[in-house]
């Protein structure tokens, strides 16, 4: 699904549907029918209007690392559905469905990889997995990855695409904010660098924990960067949102990120950043 903005330059969130694999995809931003292979080659940026489509975690990994260099970590043992939660559907079913649809164990994918020859520990979120929300599983995968990065003295790279906390895991999901920061402190103790990459969307509890304490922060051009979603802000405060609010450019101008780059240049940018971070 493409990331659209309305006329006032705000992001419009779009329902993420099951990924089928049709040959043609319609850009919801400009209406163009795009040959899927072509879209893929263009790293899921509309060749006509430049709109950014979501990138799945695996596609993101493929777009960033040296070919064949990614070794995925095994999924950890965690409490699944720790609250026994059900809303309109049981949380367990939601999890099962997300796993089937995304072919991922959780909303973040972790592994070791090389980026232009530099070994890193890479973690990439997938927004299709229950909105890229952080529950116990995501927290555990991130913490394990950071501990490994600290131990192996490899830079830790975290690509965010998250709507926030995993509400269905209640306060345990909230506490993952503490868990990932306590693990981040391990990186600091080992003087191992941590690079955050903010994409669409980088919000809520993920931005307000691990996403907010990187040594170096790069935003993808199409990113949304903010604690509260635009609609929440409008509804709660009645404030008018300024043009370009919570865009990558807004984040740069307000001192929150070190760089903004188009998706096509992210790999090169990351490797430049990594080159000054490793001996």
């Amino acid at each position: 699904m493409p990331i659209r903005r309305d006329k006032r330059d705000r992001y419009v969130e779009i329902e993420v549907s099951a990924p089928q694999e049709p040959l043609w995809v319609r850009c919801e931003s400009c209406g163009e029918l795009i040959f899927r292979r072509k879209l893929q080659e263009n790293q899921y940026v509309c060749p006509r209007c430049g709109a950014y489509f979501f990138l799945s975690a695996r596609e993101r990994v493929a777009s960033l690392v040296d070919d064949g260099s990614f070794t995925e970590f095994l999924p950890p043992r965690v409490a699944e559905d720790p609250l026994g939660f059900a809303d309109q559907i049981p949380y367990k079913d939601r999890l099962t469905r997300a796993r089937k649809e995304t072919e991922l164990f959780e909303a973040v994918l972790a592994g070791s990889a090389q980026i232009q020859g530099i070994p890193v520990i890479l973690t990439v979120m997938d927004f299709r997995f229950i909105g890229g929300s952080m529950g116990v599983g995501v927290g555990e995968i991130l913490a394990l990855a950071m501990e490994r990065a600290a131990q192996e003295r490899k830079p830790f790279v975290f690509v965010i695409s998250s709507g926030g906390a995993r509400v269905q895991e209640g306060v345990l999901s909230l506490l993952q904010m503490v868990k990932v920061v306590v693990a981040r402190e391990r990186l600091a103790q080992a003087a191992v660098p941590y690079v955050a990459v903010l994409t669409y969307p980088s919000t809520g509890g993920v931005l307000a924990s691990l996403g907010g304490v990187a040594d170096l922060t790069i935003a993808e051009e199409g990113a949304l960067v903010g604690f509260a979603g635009p609609r929440v802000i409008e509804q709660t405060t009645g404030e008018r949102l300024p043009p370009g609010f919570q865009t990558a450019k807004f984040a740069l101008e307000h001192g929150m990120v070190d760089a903004v780059v188009p998706r096509a240049k992210l790999r090169e940018e990351l490797s430049q950043a990594l080159s000054v971070l490793v001996a």
């Binding site: 555990e140 506490l175 304490v213 604690f227 509260a228």
Partner: protein, 315 residues
């Protein structure tokens, strides 16, 4: 007449009897004792068996002991520190240095305000970026001066506003969590009322987390959960139950270390008693933590948070 109104009537009657007894030298102790028993019973009834949703309502009461008056009653001396040193000051998240039972400590707390004007300025306890940047600064002062850190939490959540975003409220909250985890002395958090989401957790990454019996701690408000998950605000009561946000649920989940009992009728019926109960618990936990050497303190802190929910510890 509601139970609460009935309680008020009984209490007034008892008070009147006492006044009468004293003024006229009468012995009304038997009558007073009967009333007092009724009052105690009613208070217990009000407190026990109440639903999660009712606890949410109780946690949100504007007259719940909290904020500046709470800190002033808790500590023999309190000196407020203001400002984030870069942009401004936030009246919704306050803090400073204090003396607690003779010990020097740093205190951070949400302040919701007593008067309507104060409440408006403090956005009903929703702190903005400046509040959290200030909190981090005060944590740094406390670290430098080797002081234990106490936090008293009562917020619906961090403020979702344009200026908050422009001043990086997400980074401010993240920095508070980080700084609290690096604090070189014991840290104790007490959830007094609402423990709302990121705005609460920013002050809750403590060695010990205590909670008042009718306080809550949740990733989202029941109303928010209802509208996101059920697409219908009417499911708020159901959400309140399912989110496991009550003190006893949190204790069972291993998220809090101790539930501090409230007086019968709820904390708002007894400000002084509540302060005393919190003070006793704080001092007990501080007393346990203070002798620990720094590396042991940090090891236990790591252990505590590194494994939250990682194994099927609950249920």
């Amino acid at each position: 007449m509601s139970d609460e109104e009935r309680l008020k009537v009984l209490e007034e009657k008892a008070e009147e009897l006492r006044r009468l007894a004293q003024a006229n030298g009468l012995d009304l102790s038997a009558e007073i004792a009967v009333l007092e028993e009724k009052i105690a019973e009613l208070k217990r009834a009000l407190c026990l068996g109440i639903s999660p949703w009712e606890r949410v309502q109780m946690a949100r009461r504007p007259d719940r002991p909290s904020g500046l008056p709470f800190v002033q009653a808790l500590c023999e001396a309190f000196y407020e520190l203001r400002g984030d040193r870069v942009v401004g000051d936030d009246p919704a998240l306050r803090g400073g240095l204090a003396k607690l039972a003779g010990h020097r400590v740093a205190v951070l707390f949400h302040h919701r305000g007593a008067t309507p004007e104060e409440q408006r300025r403090a956005r009903f306890g929703m702190a903005s970026a400046q509040g959290y940047w200030k909190a981090r600064r005060i944590m740094e002062v406390a670290a430098r001066l080797d002081l234990p850190l106490l936090t008293l939490i009562n917020t619906p959540g961090a403020y979702p506003g344009v200026q908050a975003e422009a001043h990086n409220i997400a980074g401010a909250i993240a920095s508070c969590i980080w700084q609290m985890l690096r604090h070189p002395r014991p840290t104790v958090a007490v959830i007094l009322g609402e423990g709302g989401s990121g705005g609460a957790v920013a002050l809750a990454a403590a060695d010990r987390v205590l909670i008042l019996e009718n306080a809550t701690y949740s990733v989202i408000s029941p109303e928010g959960a209802a509208s996101i998950l059920w697409k219908d605000a009417k499911f708020a009561q159901e959400a309140a139950a399912k989110l496991k946000l009550t003190a006893h649920d949190l204790r069972e989940l291993g998220v809090v270390d101790e539930v501090i009992p409230e007086p019968p009728g709820g904390a708002h019926t007894d400000f002084t008693g509540t302060v005393e109960a919190v003070r006793e618990a704080l001092l007990r936990h501080l007393g346990e933590l203070t002798p620990l050497p720094l590396d042991e303190l940090l090891r236990l802190r790591y252990k505590r948070y590194r494994h939250v929910g990682s194994t099927n510890s609950a249920h």
